[in-house]
Structure formats: C-alpha cells, structure tokens
C-alpha cells in the first residue's frame, strides 16, 4: 500500500491513472445513461431540469478532463518510456504529483454531487450546471449564484495544473531520454503523437487558465471581465474557451491516432505506410488546430469575412486528417491481417472516425453550421469523433498493451463480444442523433415536445446507449477474469516491432536490463534493410539503481484542493493552510535527499 502511495515508477503511475480514469469513465457513463433515460420519451421527468443540466455538464466535463485525457495519460506513462528505451520519465516525482493532482481535482469536482446541504442548497447535488463550455455571462454570479460554477472553475484550475506538469514532463522525457540511436524519425508513432499532444497541452491550457482566472475574479471579487454593462463582452470568454477548446479536441484524438498507428502495423505485419507523412500530418494538425477556434462560434455573427476565413482553415485541417486515414488503409493493404480484438478496435476507430470527420465538414461550412450548431447533429458528430474515435482507439490500446502492463492477455472471445456490442451500440446511440438534430432538436434540453417527431429516434438512441453500457460491462468482466484466468503474455504476444516488446511483461522496475541501442525505426523486425535487434538480457549484467518513492508530491498535491476550498467556502484561513501545505510539500520535495 505505502509503495503505491509513494511510488514514482512510471508504470505504477500509469496503472493508477488507468484505474482512476476508468472509474471516472464509468461515472461519466452513468451520467450519460441517466440523460438518455430522461430523453427516451418526450416530456420525460426522471430528473428535474436543474439536475439534468448538472448531468450533461458533468458528463462532458468528466469525459473530457477525467476520463479520456487521463486514459491517454495512462498510456503516456506506461508505454512512452518503454517505447523510447528509458528507465522512467524525466521527472518521476513530478509525474506522481500530476497523478495526485488529477485524482484530487476529479474528487473535488465530483464532491459537488453530494455536498448541497453544506451550502444550504435544498438539494443534495450542487454539481456544475453551465455546460462543459461554461459560457459567460450565464456563469456570472448574477445568473448562477450557487456554488455549482465555483466547483467547476476551481476543479478545472486544479486539473489544469496536473495536465501542465505532465505536459512538460513528457516533452522533456521524449526529447531527452530516447535510447542511443533513436533519432526523432525513429520514434514510434504513438510516442510522436504523445509529443505533439503535450505541446498542445502546454500551449492550450494556459489559455483556459487565463479565461478561468478572469471568471474567478468576476465571481469572487466582482470584476467585470465578461460583463457587457461594464464595457466588456461575454464573447471574450468564447474566444478564450475555444482557443483552448479546439486544440483540446486534438489533445483528445491525437493519442488515439498514435495508438492506431502502432496497432495496425503490428497486426498487418507491415510497417506503417508513409510513417514520415503520418508524423508530419500529426504535427500539422497540431499547428492548424490553433487556427480554427471560431468555427465553434459561427452563430455568434462575427461577420462574413471572419466566417469565411475560419471556414477555410477548418476545411484545410481535413486534408492532413484524410492523409492519415489513407495511410492507415494502405498499411492494411497487402498485409497479413490478424483479426485480434485490438485490431478490431483500431479498424473501428478508422471506420467511425470517418463519419465524424465527414459530418465535421458539413459544419465547417458556416451557413449549414447555422442549422446544425447547438443541435443533436453536433452531439452525433462529437460522439463519432470522441467515442467512435478516441474511445475506440483507447480500447485498441488497452487490448494491445494490457498484456505488457499486467503480463496476462485479455480474453479474445470476450473482447470480440465487447467490440461488436460497443460497435452496434454506438451506432444505434449516435447515428439517429444526426436526424434528431436535423429535425430540429437542440442539445442540452432536458425535455422536448412530441410534436417534433423525434420521439422514436430518441428511444432508439437510448437503447443504443444501454447497449454501450452492456459492452462496457463485458469489458469489466474480461478485465477481472484476466487477473486469474488470463493467458500468460510472455515478452511479446503480438510480434511487435517496438522496444516495449523486447522486455518482460510486466517489465521489471528498471525496464531495460541494458539500455538498447537503436539502429532503425522497427528495431525488432526483419526488413529488407536489417535484421531484428537482440532483446536485452533477462537479468541485468550490473546492478541498476532505482530511486525509492516519495511522499512529498502527494503532500504538495493536497495543498491545491485545500486552496480551492477557501474561495468556495469564503474561508481565509483555509487559503493559508492550503498554501502552507503546498509550499511544505514543494520544499520537502526539493530538498529530499537523492539517495533513499
């Protein structure tokens, strides 16, 4: 127990990220099921309007910040150091700090479901209710007087610190800790996409941090950053939020693209087709992701010139995305494709992401977007991208790397059940939403009129959502069963080309008995140019020093939610305690003796 609390081992932290994020994924999923149950029929009244607004706000916030990002982070942690032949990340204690801040931030946000009585709210739940996008000026104290929005903005500020710390950590890790000979163009695709993602994190999160800081000043100190009566404008928030929010979309999708780019070659037994182009298009998407934010704001009326420019940049971003898809198909073409569960999910990613990408083109066009934005059509779009895309990709990663992480293979039979249930479920849940939106149902409505003619489509969508829930249940059974019944994986159950497959599963604490020297992009494969490398010996030829754990990152992390409680409860001494804990944690951490 103590060794898990104080761990600085990237592999353990990766597993902690995985289980924590998966728990939040289940919470976010339950929120989605309640939403779908409410909308199963018109004029539904399972939950009140207020609770419904909290549910969709927390569903979005949870899935983005507490499930998808940290699930990706679990692979960054576990796999990236193994893929580049490193012993750990560059800053192991900072890595532990990131995890604890993430956990505490997530708990802080979700505590809002239960603490209503402490705020004399009259209900148990005072969860955030302004949408995951939290548009000002609805989020100002005048229109949202309760603690709901406070939980949201303080929670996001805490989580931002976690993401930023992890971002710097992984950039330094990938740039500086690569094994000898691993030039940038020999770095596996997943690690490359991780690198691009982390650059997006460290550039995008400061923007939302500023936006949230303005909102904090407005709500707690009566400032007027978003108040038009004081000469400001609520549009400022939209620019700041989407300047963050669109790169955030790529923060969510690029890791999954990286996973798919690693899974497909392994199971097609063919190198990634056009590796260079796949890498460059990922980098290009990262850059172009910064120039499209106003396509979330076409209905704001920014004027025809601005609309045309942002429409053009948005359409352009389809080009590098399309290139990736063609390269993936070309990777499969001519291969010897083994239909493992991981491959099913990777192919599912491509098949579903195409739909999300194409519906995206229809709202890259501002006039058609006017009819689509803020309707269920966009809900369909984002779920094809983030569920059909990111979640499918993440599951591909789970089935692919779980044997590496635990030493045991997941059941392929249950895996196929999981895949097909999820595939049918998601299409049943999300495809009808295209029609629901086009027929005029806005999003974020807790009720709708039977007159709209979308009742049956909504029922269908609800059935699909519960089918997804069933598929996730099958996955959980698979996960539990594997602990006892799972087949031993050995070093390399799949015949992978990259370094992580050259060592034991799960890897020893020091990872590589000898740091490998890399001479090409596919070190463990035989190609026309080279023979496979020799795997490192099972036992290290010389003792390897591995640093022990540390309590101080966790102590420092605890300072942040305490600090956040201060404005929430208007208690000055809590701010002093929080600051003291944070500073003590950082001080002890900084002066901790190197040798343990």
């Amino acid at each position: 127990m103590k060794s898990w609390l104080t761990t600085t081992d990237h592999k353990r932290i990766g597993l902690l990220y995985f289980f924590t994020a998966f728990a939040f994924f289940l919470i976010g999923g339950i929120e989605a099921l309640v939403i779908r149950a409410q909308l199963a029929q018109p004029n539904g009244h399972l939950v009140t309007a207020e609770t419904y607004n909290q549910l969709f706000t927390m569903h979005g916030t949870t899935m983005v910040f507490l499930a998808l990002m940290p699930l990706s982070a679990s692979f960054f942690n576990y796999i990236v150091p193994l893929q580049i032949g490193a012993r750990d990340v560059a800053f192991p204690r900072l890595n532990a700090f990131s995890y604890w801040v993430f956990l505490l931030g997530g708990l802080f946000l979700n505590a809002s479901w239960l603490v209503g009585p402490l705020f004399h709210a009259g209900t148990l739940n005072v969860a955030p209710d302004g949408g995951w996008f939290g548009y000002a000026n609805l989020t100002e104290r005048q229109f949202s007087p309760g603690p709901n929005i406070d939980f949201w903005l303080l929670g996001l500020q805490i989580l931002g610190i976690s993401s930023l710390a992890a971002g710097f950590n992984f950039i330094v890790t990938i740039l500086n800790l690569r094994a000898p000979g691993m030039r940038m163009m020999r770095v596996p695709a997943f690690t490359w996409m991780t690198l691009v993602t982390q650059f997006l994190v460290i550039t995008a999160f400061p923007v939302i941090t500023v936006g949230l800081a303005f909102l904090m000043f407005d709500r707690f100190f009566g400032a007027h950053f978003y108040v038009h009566e004081a000469g400001a404008t609520p549009i400022l928030w939209q620019h700041l939020f989407w300047l963050f929010g669109h790169p955030e979309v790529y923060i969510l999708i690029l890791p999954a693209m990286g996973i798919v780019s690693d899974v497909l070659p392994t199971f097609a037994r063919k190198p990634l087709f056009g590796y260079t182009v796949v890498v460059y298009s990922g980098v290009l998407i990262g850059f172009m992701g910064w120039g499209v934010w106003s396509h979330h704001m076409f209905s704001v009326g920014l004027g025809p010139i601005a609309d045309s420019v942002f429409s053009a940049t948005t359409m352009l971003i389809a080009v590098p995305t399309g290139v990736k898809i063609f390269n993936w198909i070309a990777t499969l073409w001519g291969g010897d494709i083994r239909g493992t569960t991981a491959l099913h999910f990777a192919v599912g990613f491509i098949a579903m992401f195409i739909i999300g990408g194409l519906s995206g083109v229809t709202h890259a066009s501002p006039p058609t977007d006017l009819q689509q934005t803020d309707t269920y059509y966009v809900v369909a779009h984002i779920h094809y991208v983030l569920f059909g895309g990111t979640i499918m990709g993440l599951f591909a990663g789970i089935y692919y790397w779980w044997p590496k992480m635990t030493g045991r293979l997941l059941s392929e039979t249950l895996g196929k059940w999981h895949f097909w249930l999820q595939f049918v479920g998601m299409n049943l849940a999300f495809f009808p939403m295209h029609f629901i939106g086009l027929l005029g149902m806005p999003r974020r409505v807790y009720t709708y009129s039977p007159e709209l003619g979308v009742s049956d489509l909504n029922l269908l969508s609800t059935i699909g959502a519960f089918l997804i829930a069933l598929s996730i249940f099958v996955f959980l059974v698979n996960l539990l069963r594997t602990r006892t019944h799972g087949q031993r994986a050995g070093n390399d159950p799949w015949g992978g080309a990259t370094l992580e497959w050259s060592i034991a599963s799960p890897p020893p604490v020091y990872n590589f008995s000898v740091i490998p020297t890399v001479a090409n992009r596919l070190p463990r494969w035989k190609t026309e140019h080279h023979e496979p490398m020799r795997d490192p010996p099972a036992t290290p030829p010389a003792p390897i020093h591995v640093p022990g754990g540390s309590w101080w990152p966790m102590l420092a992390a605890f300072g942040l939610p305490i600090l956040a409680l201060a404005p929430l409860t208007h208690t000055l001494w809590l701010a002093l305690v929080g600051a003291a804990v944070l500073l003590a944690g950082i001080y002890l951490w900084a002066f901790e003796p190197f040798e343990v």
């Binding site: 309007a49 607004n53 548009y135 000026n137 949202s144 038009h228 009566e229 404008t233 609520p234 097609a268 037994r269 063919k270 190198p271 087709f273 056009g274 182009v277 209905s299 704001v300 009326g301 025809p304 609309d307 045309s308 429409s311 359409m315 080009v319 399309g322 290139v323 898809i325 063609f326 198909i329 499969l332 001519g334 291969g335 010897d336 494709i337 083994r338 098949a351 195409i354 083109v361 229809t362 066009s365 501002p366 006039p367 058609t368 006017l370 009819q371 934005t373 803020d374 029609f435 027929l439 005029g440 806005p442 999003r443 974020r444 409505v445 009129s449 709209l452 003619g453 049956d456 489509l457």
Partner: protein
Amino acid sequence: MPRYRWWSTPAVLFLLGCGGPFPQSTLHPHSDFARATDVLFTDIFWWAAAVFVVVEALLLVALIRFRHREGRPAPKPTHGHTLMEIAWTLAPAAILVFVAVPTVRTIFATAGEGPADALKVDVIGHQWWWEFRYQELGLVTANELHVPLGRAVQLSITSADVIHSFWIPPLGGKRDAIPGHVTRIAFRPDQVGEYAGQCAEFCGASHANMRLRVVVESDSGFGRWATVQLQGPAAPAPGTAADRGKAVFARSACIGCHTIRGVSPGVIGPNLTHVGSRTTIASGLFPNDSAHLARWIGDAPSLKPGSLMTRMQPPLTDADIAALVAYLQSLQ
C-alpha cells in the same frame, strides 16, 4: 408541400413508423435563407456520402482481401509511396474547393442584411421567453412572431440577460442573442403557415422551455393582425369575470412585470396587451386555454423550472385565478 429528402423518408418515416410533419425541421425549408443553407447542405452531403462510400469500401476490401491465411507469405515491408501519398493529399483538397466556393458564396448571401424595404423587427431574448418589437409599427409582442408573406424580414437580435440563440429551422437561423451586441438575420418566407423554433444556446434552468412560433400570414392577414395589436385592450364589461380579473391584475404583483397598455407598464415579463390572441403561453410551452393559464398563474415555476414569475405571496385564491384567466382571455 414539405420536401422529404431521400433518406429522411425511409429512415425516419418507414423504418421507425413515425409519421407526421416535422414543424422544426431544417430539411423542410420555407424561406430563401433556409433554402440556401439546405441547398448547400445537400451539396456537401453528397460529397461526404461519396467520400464515405469510397473510403469505407477501401477499408473493407483491405480487411477481407488481406485477412490472415495459413501459408500466406510474409507481407512485403513497404514503407510508403510518394506519388500515391501526394495523390491522396490533393484529392481531398480538390473536393474541399468544391465545398468551399459555394460555402463562401452562401456566407455572403446569408449575412443578415435584408433589403431596404424589409419589415424590421427587434428580437430580445429573455430567460426564458422572446420579446418582439416592431419598430415601424410601434408594436410589442412576445413569443409569437407574425410576419407577412412575400416581404423580407430583417431581425435585429439581442439579449436582456444571458446569451440565447434565435432559431426557427424552417425559416432560418440561428443567430445568437448576446447582451450588448446586435446580430442580424434576414429572410423572406415563401409559404403561409406556422413554424416552430426554440432557443438553441444553453441559457439556464429552462433552456428547453424557451420556444417560439413564427406565423407567416398573407399580407392582408398580417395587416389585420397588426391593426388589432395596435388597438388598446378592450375594457371588460362591468360585472363580468373578466372585469373582476382586471381588478385582481391591477392590485397584484402582476403589474410590476407585465405591460397591459393603459393598465400597467411593467417590462420584466412579456407584454400582455393582446395575450388572448396568442395560441400558446409560457413561450410556446402550452396551448393558450383556461386550464393551462390557471395552472401557469398559480404556480409557474412548477411548469417552467426557474421561472422568474414565482408563486404569489400570499397565494391567489382559485376565484382570483379564474377571474384573471377570464380577463387575460378577453385581451384579444
């Protein structure tokens, strides 16, 4: 006649057995604005459908043709093919040109500037109802926008509180209603009828309950409606229930928020001068009948969560409410 697209007919009507019209559909346009966006959408839809078929077919063929078979020789380790990669970079870019050109044309065509003779209406979003001010007619009404057929309409949209979004799918939209800003929509309806719309930007507890109707009338019908609206409210005959209702209205909190011309000047809630002539109450939520009016007056927040029209303290008696209903219904 409403126009059904090929896939909306089988998918929505046949497959699901749900018939009936779709009053809030974007696929059944009834104005130049909505038609322009619909034509553009159809355009893009077919391009997208073609790309979808080609790419998914390639994926399926690859999966079937190259699935693992015993004895298949090890695949050739191809690393790429520059010419092909250039081709599939340029092909989507070329398709996007065909999407971008009509897009930009439509952007400028639907920028919201109507002709000089357009009927100008100011639209003001409130939590959670719509106010309509006809400047040239000197007319104020709520939640039901009347416009004449065959004359362009120029809407200037803003908000009195938070951000809303004005949307009547069959006629066009949406444009956000933003405090401190004025956004514009212009459209020319092409068929008489009643069209449904609702707020599209999340605006708080009752966002789902911020609906509206647009009534497109013949020019003469619109003229008659405007004439009636311009008249003051009819005074109820002494001794009737409506007359008692007027007295209740005048001595209750109602006057603080609602305008009835000649009776009260409130501006927080909808103008009620001709509330009896509207087909719905509570911004399109319920039919304008005695039962719903009575429930609404008695306890609005139970019908519309968060409603600013709170329960009156002390509560009105049932007799008071019945009298008020009679009075409001008399305001034709």
